[in-house]
Amino acid sequence: MTDCPNGDVRDLLPEYLHDRLTLADRRAVDVHLATCAACRDELALLRDLRGTLRRAPAVDMDAIAAALPAYRAPAAAPRRVASGWRIAAAIVALAVGGTSIALLQRAGSRATPSTTPEVAAVPAPADAGATAPDEGAQPASDDLASAAQPAESLAQAIQPFERELAVAGAAINELSDGELASLVADLETLDAVPSTEVETGESLTAVALRGALP
């Protein structure tokens, strides 16, 4: 069986067979078929193959229809509340966690310069003054003051962040129900579109029948 070199027409033959072509396309194919034996043969083969493929076992349509559930609108409200609280909890966790990380980073960066005097504040030997003078050598009273500096600077660094942390925690806690609902509603818009992938698992007929039972 030879192939017609006119691929465009051959491409249309299945739709010609199913009468799905526009009138203009159908006429064009008719004109071509009148002069092309190869396309007429291919169309005849397609007709036979369609006849073969369409010999399917009959299905019990009444049984199928009986197994179908009644429509149930998605129960959006309970799901939104449940997921809303989860999201609110996640926000609190993120706020606390994020603030803590920022706190530690800021505190760490402020504490770093104070390590230099700390190293310099190592008590000098008693006879240090008798030996060559050392820039790092300090009187004993100064050593104590220097040693206290890092702790003080750390406390000073922490103070504002403690306040921020408290504010962050309180901000969520002090929201009214309405404000929280509004926040949750806004967050809902960030949700991904629910998957419509077909799950593969137990027979769906069985699931539907279970659902249909009182």
Binding site: M1, D3, R10, D11, P14, E15, L17, H18, R20, E42, L45, L46, D48, L49, R50, T52, L53, R54, R55, A56, P57, A58, V59, D60, M61, A63, I64, A65, A67, L68, P69, A70, Y71, A73, P74, P194, T196, V198, T200, S203, L204, T205, V207, A208, G211
Partner: protein, 184 residues
């Protein structure tokens, strides 16, 4: 979203879906009557014919229980075929895990009415079934949807999860394989 206006059939489907959602159970029955036979042909051609009834029923149950997930990006018909195909593939995978033979053989193509055919017609049918049996699973899916159901390449691409170009290549490769088999 579709870039062409819905056909009368598609509008009818959407109308029936809306009526079913409004509580008219009869609309669901009409949808079954419109599409069950085509789905059965497809399942019988690409899967095992023993599973046809169950797969078709599961297809409708799946579709109706998740109808809100149908966004109208494709026709309802294409969506139903997509679900049916996935159920067939799932069963095929499950059978493979159980170690069962899952290749589709020529005999799997339904032959319910063979006793009524004449001898010559039966021989022709046998040869055609044998030719279809030489196709790869993907070629068979594409070919069945195109020849048996008259789907466009766009609809086929949506159903089997490929591109229109790939669907066209699969179809022409299948046609060539069938011709070569019949010429031998």
């Amino acid at each position: 979203m579709p870039d062409v206006a819905p056909t009368i059939d598609e509008r009818t489907d959407l109308d029936l879906v809306a009526r079913w959602k409004a509580g008219e159970q009869r609309a669901a029955t009409l949808l079954v009557e419109r599409h069950a036979a085509a789905l059965a042909r497809f399942v019988a051609s690409v899967g095992s014919r023993e599973d046809v009834d169950e797969v078709v029923q599961d297809t409708f149950v799946r579709a109706f229980t998740s109808i809100d997930g149908f966004r109208g990006d494709s026709s309802l018909r294409t969506w139903l075929f997509t679900i049916a195909r996935r159920l067939v593939l799932d069963r095929r995978r499950a059978a493979r895990r159980r170690g069962e033979l899952v290749e589709v053989h020529e005999g799997d193509v339904a032959t319910e009415f063979d006793p009524l055919d004449g001898v010559v017609a039966a021989e022709t049918q046998t040869r055609l079934r044998a030719a279809l049996g030489t196709l790869s699973p993907t070629q068979r899916e594409v070919f069945v949807l195109r020849v048996s159901e008259g789907m466009s390449y766009r609809e086929i691409a949506g159903t089997v999860g490929t591109t229109e170009g790939a669907a066209r290549v699969h179809y022409h490769n299948a046609m060539r394989a069938i011709k070569e088999f019949l010429d031998d």
